[in-house]
């Protein structure tokens, strides 16, 4: 009797996850229907976002998300791979655990603090070097890159560490240098895992809100350069959700949320189910 009740409780909780995820999709879809009916494809291809005229085109926000995450990836990937190589192959055990622990702890710092730091310390630097306002895609890309770096380095290191020692040792026995071993043994062996880890970090970066909200500017225009203020999907949501006054406005914001969810779902699913699963099987 109690056995059955307990079983049903656990099954209910497990199924609840599926229900919540399905429910999120249904709710976002239903609420964005009005915008989809009104604008159709224009919603994602036009960049005019004028609440006072009831015109909503998300192109600038989508583009802003794509460019800021691309920039962040371009900056973070080489450094993260370097850090991962350092942690898994070069550093001595003591340095390794010190670095390892600090990297993991830094991954735990709330993103709002990265954003705040970016606004007060990094934006002025960009302003001094490049002129302009300082806030914009470049600032967002850099802050985002710094934010995902610890996570990215940690998972990439874990992927590299899966290389069996015996493979590395046989390459050393053939006279390979450390770099030969890294480039010809570790990277080919752990390729799927490394790519999966990088894409997973990308998935996180797309949905990251607070680190970029401070430094993006929230201007609904396709920027002329990466120094111009613009917006991205999470930035628009964070800034405008509490201000929306018409149902079409709300509907458009829900449409943005749905777009973001689908984008990150696809990216994360590719990372987890294609690359990381392949890595685990290998």
């Amino acid at each position: 009797m109690i056995d059955k009740i307990f079983f049903n409780f656990t099954r209910f909780s497990a199924l609840l996850i599926l229900v919540i995820v399905a429910w999120i999709f249904v709710v976002l879809f239903n609420h964005s229907l009005e915008a989809m009916h009104t604008f159709g494809l224009d919603f994602i291809t036009k960049d005019e976002w004028a609440p006072n005229l009831n015109k909503f085109g998300a192109y600038a926000a989508i583009l802003g998300s794509v460019i800021s995450t691309t920039l962040a990836m371009l900056l973070a990937v080489p450094v993260a791979i370097g850090v991962a190589i350092f942690l898994s192959e070069i550093a001595h055990d003591k340095v390794k655990s010190f670095f390892g622990i600090s990297v993991e702890l830094l991954a735990a710092i709330p993103s709002v603090i990265y954003g705040m730091w970016g606004l007060f310390y990094f934006v002025p630097i960009i302003r001094d070097i490049f002129g302009g306002m300082g806030i914009g895609l470049l600032a967002a890309g850099i802050v985002l890159a710094i934010m995902i770096l610890p996570f990215m380095a940690a998972v990439t290191r874990d992927a590299m560490n899966t290389t069996p020692d015996i493979l590395k040792e046989s390459a050393y026995a053939l006279g390979g240098t450390q770099w030969d071993v890294i480039k010809d043994v570790i990277i080919p062996y752990a390729k799927a895992g490394i790519i999966g880890s990088l894409i997973l970090a990308l998935g996180r970066a797309i949905g990251e809100t607070m680190a970029v909200t401070f430094v993006m500017g929230n201007v609904h225009h396709v920027p002329g350069s990466i120094l111009d203020p613009t917006t991205s999907i999470p930035v628009t949501l964070a800034n405008e959700f509490t201000e929306a006054d018409s149902s079409l406005y709300f509907s458009s914001l829900f449409g943005l949320a749905l777009t973001l969810l689908i984008m990150s779902f696809i990216v994360i699913a590719i990372a987890k189910f294609y690359f990381l699963r392949k890595a685990r099987r290998a």
């Binding site: 079983f7 909780s13 919540i20 370097g82 350092f86 705040m116 949905g207 909200t213 959700f241 973001l260």
Partner: protein
């Protein structure tokens, strides 16, 4: 240069770059940490714990409202998320095992773990805030709980699977019903791991801002009313940091420092528990 010398040279350059990138990464991260500690420490004083929010320029302003609000929100979210997460993890590890359903749940929950938290805020806005007609602490706590469940589920699932099957069989052989085996043998064996998962889950949602922006919203005054907007440290940091007032920005740094210490503390505590559990 001979071929060997060339390879050694290239090796040195490549390793040099790798070390350099590690130094660059660590420099940035310590820069942030340094700023946080310096700014936070200089802004800390007793007033912060005594007074609630005040208009800018007012001496007696503090963060009592946000500190209490944060504890209430995270506490409520823990109360909702932890039992559900542990039960769901129990189902996966003890009942579902390798069934198709269990694998689907694991996959979906894994994706949810990295899903954008602001979208969850929008979802909770649609299903809780809109029907109620106003922001509330409940809405914020529900949003945080939804983020927390997949984390707890995953660690519980992993940790329960580490408990050896022979222990379960021994308990079954004594005639214990399954729920008793789970409660008295499996949970007991995985206690440290589950606790670590819970602490990491709390640490993760404790730093979330985005899902609170339009669920629990914010309030500059002290409140314990769960049906009204509830201030939180994270949203307060956001609001104070983007304000043009120097003293509000100071409070923002103090809040950022307190929050980080809280979250780092939970993380370290979680690791210590896991480490101590493994040592046995």
């Amino acid at each position: 240069m001979t071929a060997v010398q060339k390879r050694i040279f290239i090796n040195k350059i490549a390793l040099g770059f790798s070390t350099l990138s590690a130094i660059i990464a660590l420099a940035f991260l310590f820069w942030i940490l340094g700023v946080l500690v310096m700014k936070g420490m200089s802004a800390l004083n007793w007033n912060i714990f005594i007074y609630e929010g005040a208009p800018p320029g007012y001496d007696q302003s503090g963060l009592k409202h946000a500190l209490v609000g944060q504890l209430i929100l995270v506490g409520l979210a823990t109360g909702i998320g932890v039992p559900l997460g542990i039960l769901a993890g129990t189902y996966l590890s003890e009942y579902g095992k390798n069934s198709k359903l269990a694998h689907t749940i694991r996959d979906i929950s894994d994706i949810m773990m990295s899903a954008p938290s602001i979208v969850i805020g929008a979802f909770v806005y649609a299903v809780v805030v809109m029907p109620m007609g106003h922001f509330s602490a409940w809405a914020g706590a529900i949003a945080l709980a939804i983020i927390m469940i997949p984390i707890i589920l995953r660690t519980t699932d992993d940790m329960l699977q580490l408990v050896p099957g022979t222990l379960r069989e021994a308990a079954f052989a004594l005639g214990a019903p399954k729920y008793k085996v789970i409660k008295d043998v499996v949970y007991r064996g995985a206690k440290a791991g589950i606790l670590t998962g819970v602490l990491l889950g709390i640490a993760r949602v404790g730093g979330e801002t985005a899902p609170l922006l339009f669920t629990s919203f914010n309030d500059n005054f002290f409140t314990t009313d769960l049906n009204a907007a509830m201030p939180s440290l994270t949203v307060t940091i956001f609001n104070y940091a983007i304000s043009p007032y120097e003293d509000w920005q100071q409070l923002g740094w103090a809040a950022a420092f307190i929050l980080s210490m809280f979250i780092l503390g939970l993380n370290i505590l979680g690791r210590i528990i896991l480490f101590a559990g493994k040592g046995k």
